[in-house]
């Protein structure tokens, strides 16, 4: 019974992430994928995502700094990768920004690209913060959960 309190907190937190539109159902599917064999699958994936995407973001930043002229093709390809990863973890808002960015790329709107990239980074960072908090909370309840199960 004492476990149910933090559990509820985790659920509420997750719900708030959905309510804010940060995440979509893909995230739930990911959670469903985690099972006995791989209990921290989601966290693992998310960590992987941040590790991988920070590389991508710095590449994009680099590309944007090179300024004259902007290589929109390169930007688009990078952003496609980034978007693919984002959609895999169900980062809804980030994904939407990616789409917007690619749209600007396609029309060759450098100003737009810059703006949306800033926005993207903001969303990306805030999601990271929130997810970290969420996983932290989940871990606190999680080990007990997994401890209950016979290994």
């Amino acid at each position: 019974m004492e476990r149910s309190q933090p559990r509820r907190q985790v659920a509420a937190m997750k719900q708030s992430l959905f309510d804010q539109g940060l995440l979509d159902e893909q995230f739930i599917q990911l959670e469903e994928l985690s099972d006995d064999a791989n209990p921290n699958f989601v966290e693992e994936i998310v960590t992987l995502y941040y590790r991988d995407s920070s590389r991508l973001i710095s590449s994009i930043e680099q590309a944007l700094k090179e300024r004259h002229p902007l290589d929109f093709n390169k930007l688009d390809t990078l952003m496609h990768q980034f978007k693919g990863s984002s959609s895999s973890i169900g980062a809804k808002k980030v994904k939407a920004e990616c789409t917007l960015f690619r749209e600007y790329c396609r029309t060759g709107n450098a100003e737009g690209c810059m703006k949306s990239f800033q926005q993207l980074k903001k969303e990306y960072a805030s999601l990271r913060k929130k997810l970290e908090a969420y996983f932290q909370l989940a871990r606190q309840t999680g080990p007990m959960d997994s401890a209950c199960r016979p290994k």
């Binding site: 994928l33 791989n38 995502y49 991988d52 990863s85 959609s87 939407a96 789409t99």
Partner: protein, 1013 residues
């Protein structure tokens, strides 16, 4: 005559009427734009009138003449007879007088000469003649003159004492002979002593009389006394008897004297005519025509008077052969105009004239009417053409609109699949919703136009009515649940499983009616009931009964606040669906075992007539609007369209469709109570020997694993319970109904009673209403009962039926002992089956493997133990995909680029499938696949060559690794591209189970056994 005329008229009328009638008949027959006889000859109509008048005038003239001629003949005949009659009478009277004079002569000779002394003197004679004067009414007087020869004159004069005088009363001169009057009637006493031979006329007369011995007449002359015209009759008197044929000499010698009398012809004739009728009309003249050249008039005026045109002459014989007399008669006045004939003829003429005019008028009228008719006909044809053109135009236009609309909708769909901001998405979704509404409307208009243009044709394919109804219900389940409505369907067992008809159109009608009901109902229920149209007959009697005594009953129910006769308990407009009648229907069905009946039904008839009722407890239709409810684009009230939306075309289309199906649609509605729409439709029966492609039937495969189970349905409302039972029956579950939980308990038996004889339920379905109305305690007791009495083999599963349920209620139910699954209404057989499977946990894999493609268990069975390669440069994606596949039991290897994948897939390898990302740096998915395929085909060729050694071992298949593309944007073009470069399919990138299943099942299903072998 009159008859003849009439017949003639009739004949003429017929001549003219018959063709007219024929014409009109013809026209009715042909109906074509052909000028009729009368129309063609319209110019002849006045001419006809003119000719008619001419002919009729001539005819009338002819008739008149004929009548007049008849009249004239009659007049002539009349004159003749009258004339002859007069002549004969005159003649008779005359001869009577003559005879009398003759008798007088004989008297004189007898008594004057043969007697001595003479017995007659003047006195005797005068007296005798006076007294016998009545015998001679025509004679003014008679006298006897003695023959005196000259030698005897003196003695004679002496003897009588007077001398012989002439007519001029002078003493007679010397002559050979004298004939002095010796006896005279008193009327002519002035004649005494006058010598009759002194008058020329008399002398001749005397001489002739003496010579012939017969009566002779003088020619007419003015008589002495009166100044009338007259004749003198003279008879000879012989003193001795004459020999038989006396000579002239002998006669003269024997002559003693002469008897004479004067006839006053004028008064005579006048007298005579006075005795006869009609003497005024006829004018009579008598002539002495002895000298034929100069007829002497004896009677009548000298001057020609009277009607000279018509004269009749009659001969008169007065006994004197020497003299000839004639009587000439004529009419006093000219023949009068024949008024009768004239009137008759003019009347007839007028009648004929009128008839002619009537015919003329009729002809004109016919022409006018026919002209009008033709004009109307033309207008009608034009209007019809316009209507057809309108409908066709509508059909064409709607079709033309539909094509681009589909494009718009498709593109909107695609747009929605892309990444959009929430505002954009909102706009796009609104646009799509509007587009969908528009295309629904267009489809409806198109339907209507098609029906009107006669283009809509119904299919005749076998289909399952029950599953269609379930489908329709599931369409509306969300809405009805939201509104808290009971939505239920019931199909009578008599209705065959599969009928021939147009499922799409049937569904359209039902959808429309149910949609309307859902739209207009805020509380209560919507109930769809299907049964054979024939089976309403027994129930209609029931209706009457219940209706009759239902009036007071109803009041009772309402006042009681609860009417349990209908599905939800709300009052419905049509009494027919209430429990009283429903019971009959069910009872009827239970009478025979259903299998027998279905066979009987489907075998016996080629057609079944179904009656479908859709009952709701909505706002109803105002009475004022009820008669125009089926008109297109008319809603009951214009305010409803504002309030509820819709175009109002649905019902009119439904009506058309129902009529196309050979049925009728009608409704009963009471405002604020509800409406019941019912329609009949004809469907063909499905003959099993007719081998139709069974796959084409949209027959729902209901799992058969529930057959033989037994259940109790606890529901206070019998209709609703019957619906539940109907669904359970379809699943093969035998169900009993208990209207209360206590009853259910008693059905199962109390402790101590023998279990074998009792109904042992496997499942208990409890309606939410019944559960909440019943006390919980009962349940607990019951459950305790069960647990205590170990004789029950297993505790029945308790399942709650509900329209909507709150979390609190759900928890409470669970606590009471209900299973986790609540069956949400509206009930559908497939859904009930799914829920039961979940609850009973039986045969899930077997049953649902095929039916539920998204079942993860099936995926698991497909992928378990398979070796997969996931190729993606994006590590996150790679991990996710691998994780997903691993979850289904697959053995997953990853490759981070196309090149790496190629290396790993060097033959021989043991991968069963490969998931390939398309967009990768260096070598993208397409390229990688192409290379893999190339490699494979090389290996295959080699194997072909070296088949002798190796062929037998690896005969089964040549190398072909299933490669599935992973892509985020699932557009058609990409798919084509995938196939072109040799991929087997694609899956959307964040894996969706259903999508994955579909893709994987395609090639794994067939090779299912291969890994095992």
């Amino acid at each position: 005559m009159g008859l003849g005329l009439k017949m003639k008229i009739q004949e003429m009328q017929q001549k003219h009427h018959v063709p007219v009638a024929l014409r009109m008949h013809d026209q009715n027959g042909t109906q074509k734009r052909k000028y009729t006889f009368i129309q063609k000859n319209r110019a002849l109509i006045p001419l006809f009138l003119f000719v008619w008048i001419l002919v009729m005038s001539y005819f009338s003239w002819f008739v008149f003449n004929k009548m007049d001629a008849d009249d004239k003949v009659r007049r002539k005949e009349f004159l003749e007879t009258q004339c002859d009659q007069r002549a004969r009478m005159l003649q008779d009277q005359f001869s009577v007088s003559v005879n009398h004079v003759h008798a007088l002569a004989i008297l004189v000779s007898t008594f004057h000469y043969y007697r001595h002394p003479s017995a007659i003197d003047q006195g005797t004679f005068a007296e005798y003649t006076a007294r016998t004067a009545f015998e001679r009414p025509l004679l003014s007087g008679v006298a006897y003159a003695q023959r005196v020869v000259h030698s005897e004159r003196e003695t004679f004069e002496k003897q009588h004492g007077w001398i012989i005088k002439t007519m001029e009363r002078e003493p007679s001169q010397l002559r050979d002979e004298y004939a002095p009057v010796i006896f005279a009637q008193e009327t002519v006493s002035y004649l005494e002593s006058i010598d009759m031979m002194s008058g020329k006329e008399d002398r001749e007369n005397i001489l002739r009389a003496r010579a012939t011995g017969k009566a002779v007449l003088t020619s007419p002359f003015r008589l002495l006394g009166s100044h009338h015209l007259g004749v003198v009759l003279t008879f000879p008197v012989y003193k001795s008897k004459l020999p038989l044929n006396p000579t002239l000499e002998e006669r003269i010698k024997a002559t003693a004297g002469y008897v004479g009398g004067s006839f006053d012809v004028e008064s005579l004739v006048e007298n005579l005519l006075g005795q006869l009728a009609g003497n005024q009309a006829i004018l009579v003249n008598v002539y002495d025509v002895t000298n034929s050249s100069t007829p002497l008039i004896m009677y009548g005026s000298q001057y020609e008077k009277g009607d000279m045109s018509l004269v009749h002459e009659s001969k008169l014989d007065f006994g004197d052969p020497y003299r000839n007399h004639t009587m000439i008669c004529r009419y006093h006045q000219k023949a009068p105009t024949n008024w009768m004939a004239l009137t008759t003829v003019s009347l007839v003429f007028v009648i004929l004239l009128l008839i002619g005019y009537i015919l003329y008028g009729a002809g004109n009228h016919i022409v006018k009417v026919e002209d009008d008719f033709q004009e109307m006909e033309e207008l009608k044809v034009r209007a019809e053409a316009a209507d057809v053109a309108k409908s066709q135009f509508l059909a064409t236009v709607s079709h033309e609109i539909r094509t681009p609309m589909n494009g718009i909708l498709g593109m909107l769909g695609l747009l929605l699949d892309t990444e959009l901001t929430s505002t954009q998405r909102d706009y796009a979704q609104t646009a799509q919703a509007c587009g969908k509404a528009l295309i629904t409307l267009i489809n409806e208009v198109l339907d209507r136009a098609k029906i009107e243009a006669g283009k809509l044709e119904l299919e005749a394919v076998p289909f399952d009515i029950r599953s269609i109804l379930d489908d329709v219900l599931s369409l509306f389940s969300e809405k009805s649940r939201h509104k808290g409505l009971e939505l239920a369907v019931f199909v009578s067992d008599k209705v065959p499983d599969i009928v021939m008809g147009d499922p799409g159109r049937f569904r359209q009608i039902i959808t429309n009616l149910v949609g309307n009901s859902v739209k207009f109902t805020e509380r209560g229920h919507i109930f769809v009931k299907v049964h054979l149209a024939e089976s309403t007959k027994p129930t209609t009697n029931g209706t009457c009964e219940t209706y009759l005594n239902g009036v007071t009953d109803e009041v009772g129910h309402i006042s009681g606040g609860c009417n349990s006769k209908t599905l939800s308990g709300c009052e419905a407009a049509d009494e027919r669906n209430n429990w009283e009648n429903f019971k009959h229907l069910i009872a009827d069905e239970e009478f025979l075992s259903d299998s027998v009946k279905k066979v009987a039904c489907s075998e016996a008839y080629d057609q079944v007539r179904l009656m479908v009722c859709v009952e709701d407890t909505g706002i109803g239709i105002p009475f004022s609007a009820q008669d125009r409810i089926f008109m297109p684009f008319v809603q009951a009230d214009s305010s409803t369209s504002r309030h509820y939306g819709g175009t109002g075309i649905g019902l009119s289309i439904s009506k058309c469709l129902v009529e196309l199906m050979g049925g009728q649609i009608n409704f009963i509605s009471r405002p604020q109570v509800g409406s019941t729409f019912s329609f009949t439709a004809n469907f063909g029966t499905y003959k099993k020997n007719l081998k139709t492609d069974v796959k084409k039937l949209n027959v729902e495969d209901l799992p058969s694993s529930f057959r033989g189970l037994r259940a109790i349905v606890v529901d206070g409302k019998p209709v609703r319970a019957a619906v539940t039972r109907y669904h359970l029956k379809r699943l093969g579950i035998q169900a009993k109904v208990a209207n209360h939980i206590k009853k259910a308990v008693s059905l199962c038996g109390k402790n101590g009673s023998l279990a074998s004889e009792l109904f042992q339920p496997d499942i208990v379905f409890v309606e939410k209403d019944s559960w909440f109305s019943g006390e919980d305690g009962v349940f607990n007791i019951w459950q305790l009962d069960w647990k205590q009495n170990g004789h029950m083999l297993k505790i029945p599963q308790m399942i709650l039926l509900a329209t909507n349920i709150s979390n609190g209620e759900f928890d409470k139910a669970k606590a009471t002992g209900f299973s986790d699954t609540v069956i949400m209404k509206p009930l559908r057989s497939s859904m009930v089956a799914a829920c039961l499977q979940q609850v009973l946990g039986m045969g899930k894999k077997k049953q649902l493997g095929k039916d539920m493609p998204n079942a993860p268990t099936f995926l698991k069975s497909l992928l378990c133990g398979k070796k997969m390669l996931v190729v993606d440069d994006n590590i996150v994606n790679r991990r996710v995909a691998a994780g997903a596949l691993k979850k289904f039991g697959a053995d997953v290897k990853c490759a981070e680029s196309g090149k790496a994948a190629l290396e790993m897939l060097q033959l021989p390898h043991n991968f069963d499938a490969c998931f390939m990302d398309i967009q990768m740096p260096e070598m993208d998915g397409f390229e990688a696949t192409r290379r893999i395929r190339m490699m494979e085909s090389k290996a295959n060729e080699q194997e072909m060559n070296g088949e002798c050694e190796e062929g037998k071992r690896r005969k089964r298949s040549e190398h072909h690794l299933p490669i599935l593309a992973m892509t985020a944007d699932v557009i058609h073009a990409t798919y084509e591209e995938c196939l072109k470069c040799g991929m087997d399919g694609y899956v959307s990138k964040p894996f969706e189970e259903e999508n994955l299943y579909q893709a994987v099942a395609k090639f794994f299903n067939s090779n299912h056994i291969s890994p095992a072998s």
